[in-house]
Symmetry: C2
Subunit: 173 residues, 2 copies
DNA sequence: TTACTCATGTAACAAGTTACATGATTTA
DNA sequence: TAAATCATGTAACTTGTTACATGAGTAA
């Protein structure tokens, strides 16, 4: 048995997201995966090559992903999730502590600072953010007209987040 | 002029949070700051010594924080925000791109995976997370009875986040 | 004085980032 | 064939993590 090394730690958020994405599109390549991450709305999440390739290599070394060569001269590999990968993914998805944590929210982390500013400083700042949020919301509204399934759910969740932020701004600007 | 080295990059989220916290409690020490971060609800945010001490040293070296020795033999330093620090903090707080980004939300990043599971797998998983959220919400409700100012706003925002999640679970379990 | 807690810090490591390098494939 | 783009990857760096070390103050 080729001995997939036992992982010591839980999956990182990136690793979980990669496993989940590969599972939804079997035979996916690292390049395609990066494309998907690059259009994600998160700026904390660049989907950089320096993150994705090493992460997929780690997952393969741990026996959670399997790769088959596509046959081209670039050595492109098509990935799929192994049985062990399915199990790890289930554990990741069901990790209640992680799933319910507040995560990292740049809006929320700025709120205390905003509240200490004078009205004269705060009002224009919040107006600018409000404006950017409104623009984003209308873009998401367009997306919702055509998007299906996962993309639709993702857009809906983002929209709800921004609406909550807009409500907060309206009450505090 | 003692030449505070020019910073090349914007403040990290941790640096912004530190500057903001120091500004709200002048003369604060790294130790007190860590205590504050340690009780924060984020598990992505441990407020570890290995992050806080180096970050405060960086901010001091950049001329954004000033330190005065307290006089005890431990070399405890009391920090305050300089004029340059105020400016950097204002730029950080008003960075609309960062402020409106979706951040890192472990709940949202798991949603696509949850949706691909069978009802038999998904239902108990979501019930467990729902239960944990309800517990947390009632704790936050208690907090709100006594908390004031910043702590109150933070708790309110967290509560609203969890309630949105609970609504999503109710609609999708 | 012994033990506990306060407080500052470092070392080794983990996992991202940007920027660059390299070669394969496709299109004009 | 030349140029553009597809695709894989590496190198240097940044900033976080955990775990440990060290010593100061304080209470029994």
């Amino acid at each position: 048995m080729p001995a997939s090394r036992k992982r010591k730690a839980a999956l990182t958020e990136l690793e979980g997201a990669i496993l989940s994405a590969v599972r939804r599109g079997e035979g996916i390549t690292p390049y395609r995966l990066r494309q998907a991450f690059l259009v994600s709305p998160s700026i904390e999440w660049s989907g950089s090559a320096g993150a994705v390739y090493p992460a997929m290599r780690r997952l393969k070394a741990a026996g959670l992903l399997a790769a088959t060569a596509s046959g081209d001269a670039r050595g492109t590999e098509h990935y799929s999730v192994t049985a062990a990968g399915e199990a790890a993914l289930l554990a990741w998805a069901g990790d209640a502590t992680r799933a319910m944590s507040v995560g990292i929210d740049p809006f929320r982390s700025r709120v205390p600072q905003w509240l200490t500013l004078s009205r004269a400083q705060r009002a224009p700042m919040l107006r600018a953010i409000e404006k950017a949020l409104v623009v984003r919301c209308s873009a998401l509204g367009e997306t919702l007209k055509t998007a299906h399934d996962i993309a639709r759910v993702q857009a809906t969740l983002e929209l709800e987040l921004h609406r909550a932020r807009l409500r907060w701004i309206a009450a505090n600007k």
